[in-house]
């Protein structure tokens, strides 16, 4: 079971971005995928989760309306998307498979830097 995320991104404020998380080694629609943010030197924050079987997504109020989580079952891939980045969106973003009420495994993380 493995989650492999897309590479680091350097973007400007106002730009759009989609990062990915490709799953392998298990039946993709059978487990929710969760996205977590970690800002530099800080703890982990739950952003939202998605059920790949029907693309139902639930978001943290802190991120609702600012990001979109989606999946593509044909490629076993989950996505985290912004339409208009802010400098405060900089951080490391992890995807993780939800197994019951815990998260295992995690992707390796994607560093997003938003700078003018």
């Amino acid at each position: 079971v493995q989650l492999v995320q897309s590479g680091a991104e350097l973007k400007k404020p106002g730009e759009s971005l989609r990062i990915s998380c490709r799953a392998s080694g298990y039946i993709f629609p059978s487990y929710w995928i969760t996205w977590v943010r970690q800002m530099p030197g800080k703890g982990l924050e739950w952003m939202g989760s998605i059920d790949p079987s029907d693309s139902y997504a639930i978001y943290s109020p802190s991120f609702q309306g600012h990001v979109t989580i989606s999946t593509d079952r044909s490629t076993n891939t989950a996505y985290l998307q912004w339409t208009s980045l802010r400098t405060s969106d900089s951080g490391i973003f992890y995807c993780a498979r939800a197994d019951g009420n815990s998260f295992d495994p995690w992707g390796q993380g994607t560093l997003v830097t938003v700078s003018p």
């Binding site: 009420n101 815990s102 998260f103 390796q108």
Partner: protein, 111 residues
Amino acid sequence: QSALTQPASVSGSPGQSITISCTGTSNDIGSYNYVSWYQQHPDKAPKLLIFDVSSRPSGVSHRFSGSKSGNTASLTVSGLQAEDEANYHCVSYTSITLPVLFGGGTTLTVL
């Protein structure tokens, strides 16, 4: 909803035991046996250590154990080793509309 409360740092000497607390409320930790713990080494992804309060995934050392009392969950690391030096994060299920709540993380230093 506020994050779960963890101490910012704990420390111990090799061979000793330490305990990291994770305090929530009756709406999260106090109501559900769905607390999990994660170990995160610098510049690495988190790794699952404990799920459902006290269960260990296969491959995780028996030196790691979890428990819960009331609104507080705890992670105990026994027989401290240098490789245990890392950040530790707790997570609890809260509700169907806001299902995931993280703690602020605790840095474990092995002296």
